[in-house]
């Protein structure tokens, strides 16, 4: 790619569209200024509401976030100059707002007294720095995303190991009914968050190779193209793995996420609607089947159907019940249309996991319907940029990887936000970028890094053809 002479012959068609494509780096910089200023403003707001003074950490916090954004920006400018200009500011803004909400919950005496908060914000800032560092590493060392294609099967093995880690005795931790954590050197890590990316790499590599076989060798039945029995193999394997995750790690969210991501990528690779139908059927069968004998999942479903009963049971001291779901609904309802304002709500009443799984409820209460809708639209925009990257990518591997990552991101947002808002049963996952938790933040920064790399490759103008002194001057037609 780097040598212009070797590629001149292949680029006649794309040259027209890409000459003079602006890099949009200055747009990104301007947006980043807002992405840093808005959280800083929010931070000041929290301090004023809770302690009647601008928080003393405002300057260092603002500088910290600004520095991270600046590093991110400079690295993108240098190593991925044509990348999408919105992804980095969106991630920065969400991450910054999450930090503010976590700091706000740190101020709650109630959460401090039950060890659910107190110093989560500084830790989250550290994780953010680690996340941005990983982001930088991805952009510097991953010169071309197609390199990842070489590691298709290694990725498979890696993903399986990551997923199985929490089941290893002595390493895995069973926290609050779900076995999705491992404990290393005092840190709790959710390998599932990293497995999400590694699996996407595997699926993209695998499907790129097999897509023709999967797409073409099929029989038509009732308007659907049914795959051949032997082609069902991969989807059955992934389905089985998802079910195993569900059974052994009792983690509905991760299970749903992986299977959903696979179905999306399979559909994109083969363009066969039948896979979607199969996927939906299989996930329904799997979820209902496991729920019928797994008490933890059953209890989640019961809590979803009647959160008030769950609240009462928990209040009466019944073991294994939690009032969180109802508390989250009250937080949303009490926020109303415009919210109470930063620092003036009582989302600490959610107590356990108030600053991680349930952080959206804090936004719901303090920023109201308006704030949550804005937040959801920010996520939607991030996903949209990811899908756009997939559309723009010129190679099938890039397309599949980009849509896999974006689709998984969208599913995760849906599963978490839907769970907290009582739309679907609660699962043990966290809101990307917003929630307190190292694995999630670091993995999602890596995800954004990969998306930026793909989009840089996609949007990079082809090198100008070597000047040919014999050619006549041609008019350059630029599409709008």
């Amino acid at each position: 790619m780097s040598s212009s002479t070797t590629n001149t012959s292949t680029h006649h068609t794309s040259t027209i569209g890409s000459i003079g494509t602006p890099s949009r780096r200055n747009t990104e910089l301007a947006l980043l200024v807002f992405a840093v200023l808005i959280p800083v403003f929010a931070y000041a707001n929290v301090g004023l509401a809770i302690n009647d003074q601008v928080p003393t950490g405002l300057l260092s916090y603002g500088l910290g976030l600004g520095l991270l954004a600046a590093v991110g920006h400079l690295v993108v400018r240098k190593f991925a100059p044509y990348a999408d200009p919105l992804l980095l500011p969106l991630a920065t803004l969400l991450n910054g707002l999450g930090l503010v909400a976590i700091w706000r919950l740190d101020q709650s005496e109630l959460l401090q007294s039950i060890k659910q908060a107190g110093s989560a914000a500084p830790r989250q800032l550290l994780y953010t720095a680690m996340g941005v560092a990983l982001f930088v590493v991805v952009l510097i060392f991953l010169k071309d995303h197609r390199v990842l294609q070489r590691y298709t099967y290694i990725s498979m093995v890696g993903a399986l190991i990551l997923l199985l880690l929490p089941l290893v005795p002595g390493l895995g931790k069973n926290l609050y009914g779900a076995k999705i954590w491992i404990s290393v050197a005092g840190f709790s890590i959710q390998p599932g968050e990293f497995a999400k990316i590694v699996l996407a790499v595997f699926f993209a590599g695998y499907l790129m190779v097999k897509r023709d076989a999967l797409a073409l060798a099929s029989r038509r039945f009732m308007g659907l193209y049914l795959p051949r029995g032997r082609d069902l193999g991969p989807i059955l394997v992934v389905w089985a793995i998802s079910i195993l995750i569900l059974v052994f790690e009792t983690d509905l969210g991760t299970s749903l996420l992986f299977f959903g991501m696979f179905v999306i990528m399979l559909y994109v690779a083969t363009e066969r609607t039948s896979w979607i139908v199969f996927g939906l059927l299989m996930s329904a069968v799997g979820a209902v089947g496991v729920a019928s004998f797994e008490p933890h999942i059953q209890q989640r479903v019961d809590a979803w159907l009647d959160p008030m009963r769950e609240y009462t049971l928990s209040r009466n001291g019944e073991f294994g019940h939690s009032e969180q779901a109802m508390q989250a609904l009250w937080a949303f309802g009490s926020g109303g249309t415009l919210g109470t304002g930063w620092g003036q709500g009582h989302s600490e009443l959610i107590r356990f996991a108030a600053n991680s799984d349930f952080i959206l409820a804090t936004f719901g209460e303090e920023l109201g319907l308006a704030g949550v809708m804005a937040l959801l639209l920010l996520y939607a925009l991030l996903v949209e940029r990811g899908v756009r990257t997939a559309l723009a990518a010129r190679d099938p591997f890039g397309k599949l990887l980009a849509i896999g990552l974006s689709g998984a991101f969208a599913l995760q947002v849906f599963v978490v936000a839907g769970g907290v808002m009582g739309l679907i049963p609660l699962t043990g996952m966290t809101m990307p970028f917003l929630a307190s938790g190292g694995s999630s933040v670091i993995a999602n920064w890596a995800l954004v890094g990969i998306l930026l790399r793909i989009s840089d490759t996609a949007r990079r103008p082809a090198p100008a053809p070597a000047p040919n002194p014999d050619a006549e001057m041609t008019q350059v037609v630029r599409p709008s």
Binding site: E109, L110, I264, Y267, V268, A269, E271, M308, Y311, M326, L329, W330, F332, G333, S334, G335, G336, T337, H346, L349, G364, G368, L369, V372, M373, L376, L377, Y379, A380, V383, E384, V387, A390, L391, P396, K399, L400, I403, S406, G407, A410, L411, V413, F414, A417, G418, M421, G422, L423
Partner: protein
């Protein structure tokens, strides 16, 4: 591959759209319901977030507030809480509120719509929000006399005093009582205090508001109602003409003789003499002669069988229907099923004193903002006319005879006309338990206006049975309460 990509984009859009719709459902459609749900702790946090307004008696607050730790910022305090508990009720961070504290919670906590303008103004000017005040009709001196009297007595008991002309409640005491300050917070000591006050752990049941919520057999004090019925129905229009009452008198339909207490001049006694000596035979026969319906009608006119909303609710007093003549006879001397709250008997005395007009009893005079601007003032309201003015004056003279020359001498006040009636109600199986000592009375000033009517009831487990009589135990307390009110008037 771009076609499925576009479809996936639409799918992602639908996911977000679903979330947006759900969010609107939650934070717009259901917002109010969730926000005001009583299980939602924010409701309580809001209630205790601002200093609560005060309950005021005679210009002085009988309540206050104190800052607490935790998410509830302020708690209620009470001055002389045990004395005022039947008036205020309680408000507790852990156990909610009752009685006046609960009924006027909107004003006191500052969330009432009437305070909306004031709250908005405070928000704009940056003044801290504070609840409004509730000004009561009570009379501090009378309340103190009532409570101290009961306390000195030592047994369970209650006092209710009313201003007959307006229906203003002047005293409302119950003993044994409790200090609501001890349960106002949300700490373990509040919890312990609360547990100790519960009826199942405390035979005294100190949280019972006996003045409003306990209906006792009224005994002979009910003879005032029976006398009113005799006058109003024209059975014996002249109180000084002999009634047709043999002695002994056997109750109709039975072979049981109705007994009098001791050897008293009841044979064919006039109404006045019968009331003076509290003749069971005379009033029992009046009741059975008039019949169930007329007696019930008269009792209802005095307020029996209805709850009163002062605005704190009082229990409905009882006079039964469909009774046999002998049961009507017993009911007419305040026995059998007949039961009355102290407030009810004070209403009976007040209607007689107010020349036959019964005013609706009330204890909230005015609602104010925290700057003492009036929001709402209660106007006196007529409830009924149990007696014609002429008959009321006849009954007054009879009740005055009771105090001057009869069983109620202990209630005499020098230079003041007092009318009253004693009562000693039997209760328990075969009358095995100690009777209740009752006294109801009113005082009249020189201009014939009556500033106070009062009812006192004492249930004394410790006293010897013979010692209990309305005149001995209850009348002195009634006297102190009347003196306190009159002292204030002078």
């Amino acid at each position: 591959m771009n076609k499925p990509l576009r479809r996936i984009a639409i799918f992602c859009g639908l996911l977000v759209l679903t979330l947006l719709i759900r969010d609107n459902w939650l934070q717009y459609v259901r917002a109010d319901e969730l926000k005001t749900d009583n299980n939602n702790r924010r409701v309580a946090i809001e209630r205790y977030a601002t200093p609560r307004g005060n309950i005021i008696v005679g210009g002085n607050p009988i309540t206050g507030y104190k800052e607490t730790s935790g998410d509830f910022k302020y708690k209620r305090t009470y001055k002389n809480g045990a004395m005022w508990a039947p008036v205020t009720g309680f408000v507790s961070q852990a156990y909610g509120a009752n009685q006046l504290e609960s009924i006027e919670d909107g004003i006191l906590s500052g969330t009432d719509d009437q305070l909306f303008f004031r709250n908005t103004l405070d928000m704009i000017t940056g003044t801290a929000k504070k609840g409004g005040n509730v000004v009561t009709t009570l009379n501090a001196a009378a309340q103190k006399a009532a409570y101290d009297g009961l306390k000195r007595q030592g047994g369970k008991g209650a006092v209710a005093a009313i201003d007959p002309a307006t229906g203003k409640i002047l005293a409302l005491a119950s003993y044994p009582s409790y200090d609501p300050s001890t349960i106002a917070g949300g700490t373990t000591s509040d919890e312990e205090a609360w547990k100790k006050l519960q009826k199942k752990n405390n035979a005294d049941d100190p949280m019972l508001n006996r003045a409003l919520r306990e209906a006792y057999p009224p005994g002979s004090t009910f003879k005032v109602v029976t006398a009113a019925a005799a006058l109003e129905n024209g059975l014996y229009p002249d109180p000084d003409k002999p009634t047709k009452t043999p002695l002994p008198w056997t109750m109709p339909g039975t072979t049981t003789e109705l007994k009098n207490e001791g050897d008293i001049p009841c044979k064919n006694a006039t109404l006045r003499v019968a009331l003076q000596w509290s003749c069971n035979t005379v009033f029992g026969k009046v009741g059975s002669d008039l019949g169930n319906e007329k007696m019930l009608e008269q009792a209802k006119k005095f307020g029996f069988t209805s709850e009163q909303f002062t605005p704190v609710r009082s229990t409905a007093s009882v006079f039964s229907e469909d009774m046999a003549p002998s049961e009507v006879a017993l009911s007419s001397i305040g026995q059998f099923n007949t039961a009355a709250t102290p407030l009810q008997m004070a209403m009976v005395a007040s209607a007689v004193a107010n020349d036959g007009t019964l005013m609706k009893p009330y204890m909230v005079d005015e609602l104010q903002t925290n700057d003492l601007d009036p929001l709402e003032k209660t106007k006196p309201e007529e409830l009924s006319k149990p007696l014609s003015p002429a008959n009321a004056q006849i009954l007054q003279s009879m009740m005055e005879t009771v105090v001057n020359d009869g069983t109620g001498k202990n209630a005499q006040i020098s230079d003041i006309t007092v009318g009253g009636k004693t009562g000693t109600a039997q209760h328990g199986v075969e009358n095995s338990e100690n009777p209740y000592a009752w006294f109801i009375s009113y005082a009249k000033l020189s201009d014939d206006s009556s500033p106070v009517a009062v009812a006192v009831v004492i249930e004394d487990d410790n006293a010897v049975r013979d010692d209990i009589s309305g005149g001995g135990l209850a009348a002195p307390i009634a006297k102190k309460v009347m003196e306190a009110v009159i002292g204030n008037k002078k």
